[in-house]
């Protein structure tokens, strides 16, 4: 699998040229070298008829990730899902949109349940069947955090995927520990002296994952499919605990236009607020470089959850504060260095 992904990366540089370098597919390269999503017979692990909102980033991210995992394992994937949007909009009785074996247990235990699945497969002599746990930022960075850390620390053979839309959207957009500073949510209204979410210290679960020293940790976004697929395939080529944190915009919770989902994911990376990086065995090994840097304001402006920042002078300072956070990321993950540098 690794070979395939490396060649895919190579072809990006060698053959894609101007047209198709960043697009999903490219008629000029062989099917094998094209993105999984470009394939006419991709598995569509998450199929039509689900009840996600128009322009749902999570629905997109989940199909991207699961389809890539399906290709990487020849379809031998069992998915465990934490409670949340993804669970509710994909499996309301009597309809499921999942084409893979799929299990929903609770909000906070996806990582542990997946550990159980993996253990069962080992003991049943079917190690080729791999377990993937998935959840939103609430189920991952908040309520599911204990089970997640336990799974990491035991280095169980589970790929945990967090679809981060930066709040509890399923329950009506309440703040989570992944909600960015200043963002308006139902529980951090744009009122009072400190409108929106507090400027806390933040909580980078990817970094916490790295601190566990697990074999593989990566962040990705729905705006960079090739990068996302490569990371999923790489992850599926590794045994032990792996963590993939995917940034997935939410039109409902962010107050953005449904067609802007991918555009916003792109801007989040280009402004430095969402660093895309990789780490192996506790060491950051590389980052996706910013291609056309933009000020954070360009990313914040189209989102109603940040509207209050643009209506007052105090707002300007908060934007500056957010820019400072972006600049820190840029420095820490070398986001403006030339390609190839760590």
């Amino acid at each position: 699998m690794n070979d395939r992904t490396t060649t895919l990366d190579a072809t990006q540089k060698l053959h894609f040229y101007q047209k198709g370098t960043f697009t999903v597919g490219n008629r000029l390269v062989s099917d094998q070298q094209r993105a999984v999503q470009a394939s006419i017979d991709r598995s569509n692990a998450l199929t039509c008829g689900h009840r996600a909102c128009q322009g749902c980033g999570e629905a997109l991210g989940a199909r991207y990730a699961m389809d890539a995992a399906m290709r990487a394992t020849g379809g031998n994937v069992i998915a465990v899902n934490a409670t949340g949007c993804l669970e509710v909009f994909t499996t309301p009785y009597p309809e499921t949109s999942w084409q893979t074996p799929w299990l929903h247990s609770l909000f906070g235990n996806a990582a542990a349940v997946a550990t159980g699945v993996a253990a069962a497969m080992r003991v049943k002599g079917r190690p080729e069947v791999r377990a993937i746990a998935q959840g939103g930022d609430g189920g991952t960075t908040d309520i599911g955090f204990g089970c997640l850390s336990g799974m990491f620390e035991r280095n169980d053979d589970v790929l945990y995927i967090c679809y981060d839309n930066e709040a509890y959207m399923n329950t009506g957009v309440q703040r989570s520990s992944a909600t960015p500073p200043a963002a308006r949510t139902a529980t951090t209204p744009a009122m009072g002296p400190e409108p929106g979410n507090v400027f806390g210290t933040g909580k980078s679960v990817p970094k916490i994952a790295v601190a566990h020293g697990i074999p593989y940790v990566a962040t990705a976004t729905v705006a960079d499919l090739h990068d996302l697929e490569r990371k999923v395939m790489k992850a599926m080529g590794i045994h032990g605990a792996r963590y993939l944190h995917i940034h997935v915009p939410c039109p409902l919770g962010w107050g953005s236009a449904s067609q802007d989902t991918i555009r916003l994911a792109r801007l989040a990376v280009e402004c430095g607020l969402f660093p895309v990086f990789e780490a192996e065995h506790g060491v950051v090994t590389g980052s996706r470089k910013i291609r056309r840097q933009v000020p954070v304001a360009e990313y914040l402006q189209p989102q109603r959850r940040f509207a209050h920042l643009f209506s007052s002078d105090a707002g300007k300072n908060r934007i500056a504060h957010l820019q400072a956070i972006a600049d820190r990321n840029i420095a820490e993950y070398h986001l403006l260095d030339a390609e190839g540098e760590a």
Partner: protein, 419 residues
């Protein structure tokens, strides 16, 4: 093979003979020795083809079991007290998903005040979670019940909790006949799941179910437990056939024929009660005992059949539903509901937080029942003097402080006074 052995170890060996495939361990007194024993047996290979997983919490312990069971493995874990409450959400989930997990519950009180000793508060806290609950009277039965539990759970695709009195059984070293592997294999068929996560035949398990179907799901769960009322005696009979001894079943009676007064109890206390009854019978008192093995499903009909001819029924239980009384007594009332000329039911709350239940105390309360049956709950060996003092003090002083500490202080004073 007969062994003089600690209860926990005996259970561990019995569970091992059931060929569990995934065992999740998290330490909590008093079940700890069971998973310790199992861990050792997995390491030494006594249990083969088994994943032993040390998890970070009871919540994770049962969650791992849920995943393993849904993926087709025979899953086991054990817990007690606070641990059971910490995994409560998963307890309901396991039964809701119909996963045949077997879990040992080393019965123990629930804090605060923190207390590690035995009573049945933990079992009662999740009595209505959809799990079947079987109470062991002896360590022999504790061991045997696990073997029956796996068969029952997997037949109905419904989890089973084997309730064993903490310390009193788990830590008691006594004679236990550990079955032979061949017998267990003959009795317990390999796990055939009704549904399993398999890439060859994918399904989605754990859908969101709305008002249109939720009642039906719940009803079917309830219906399964009514089926268990038939299966439990059946499997107990089969067990006797295979292993040559009585173990399990819905309930057992002792000297009940013609008894005017019948005691109902669960767990290890039944032994003490039997001795007490023998002595009372010797004194010509017409008293008998019904030992309830299955609390869930609750054997309403079988119990009614045992109790209906008595004049009085005394329910002795190690649990208190604060503000209501004895939950077991309440369930016994259910068995006699709408029965013409049904016996009077009297409730005894005993052995909370590990307080010993002695023959002396039992004689006092049971003989009392002949002379002067009571209404409401009788708290066995309640230190009324101290309670009265505390109540008086609390009435006087607004900031009266923590009751538990106050009581301990008073007990100390009382002892000094005695010297």
């Amino acid at each position: 093979m007969l062994k003089q052995i600690e209860g926990s170890r005996a259970m561990a060996e019995a569970i091992g003979l059931c060929r569990p495939e995934v065992i999740c361990a998290y330490p909590i007194t008093p079940q700890t020795h069971i998973v310790e024993g199992l861990g050792e047996m997995v390491r030494t290979g006594e249990i083969s083809k088994c994943e032993f997983i040390n998890v970070e919490s009871e919540f994770a312990a049962l969650s791992v079991a849920i995943g393993a069971s849904a993926a087709g493995a025979r899953a086991y874990t054990a817990t007690a007290s606070q641990g059971l409450l910490y995994m409560a959400e998963a307890v309901y989930n396991a039964s809701g998903l119909g996963l045949p997990i077997v879990m040992t519950l080393g019965n123990r009180a629930i804090g605060a005040p923190i207390n590690i000793w035995n009573d049945h508060s933990d079992a009662m806290a999740v009595a209505d979670s959809g799990w079947m609950q079987l109470f062991a009277e002896t360590n022999q039965e504790a061991a045997d019940l696990h073997i029956q539990a796996f068969r029952l759970a997997e037949e109905l695709s419904m989890p089973v909790m084997v309730c064993v009195d903490g310390f009193i059984l788990t830590h008691a070293v006594e004679r236990v006949d550990i079955p032979e592997q061949a017998d267990v294999d003959a009795y317990l068929p390999p796990y055939e799941p009704v549904q399993v996560l398999d890439p060859q035949d994918p399904i989605s398990i754990g859908a969101m179910v709305g008002p249109e179907a939720f009642t039906e799901v719940r009803y079917l769960q309830h219906y399964k437990q009514t089926l268990a009322l038939r299966l439990i005696p059946e499997y107990a009979a089969a067990f006797k056939k295979q292993f040559g001894r009585d173990s399990g079943g819905l309930l057992r009676s002792y000297r009940c024929e013609d008894a005017e007064l019948i005691v109902v109890a669960m767990g290890s206390v039944n032994g003490t009660i039997k001795d007490t009854i023998d002595e009372m019978r010797a004194d010509g008192l017409s008293v008998g005992l019904v030992t309830l093995v299955s609390f869930r499903p609750f054997p309403t009909a079988a119990l009614r059949e045992k109790l209906v001819r008595a004049l009085n029924v005394v329910v002795i239980e190690k649990s208190l539903a604060v503000g209501m009384g004895g939950p077991l007594a309440n369930n016994v009332d259910l068995a006699l509901r709408n029965v013409a000329g049904a016996p009077q039911v009297h409730s005894v709350i005993a052995g909370l937080g590990g307080r010993p239940i002695t023959k002396t105390s039992l004689h006092r309360v049971l003989r009392g029942a002949f002379v002067q049956p009571w209404e409401g709950s009788h708290f066995l060996d309640l230190n009324e003097k101290i309670v009265a003092k505390e109540l008086h003090y609390v009435r006087k002083v607004r900031r009266s402080g923590p009751t538990a500490e106050n009581l301990l202080r008073r007990l100390g004073q009382a002892e000094k006074a005695a010297v």
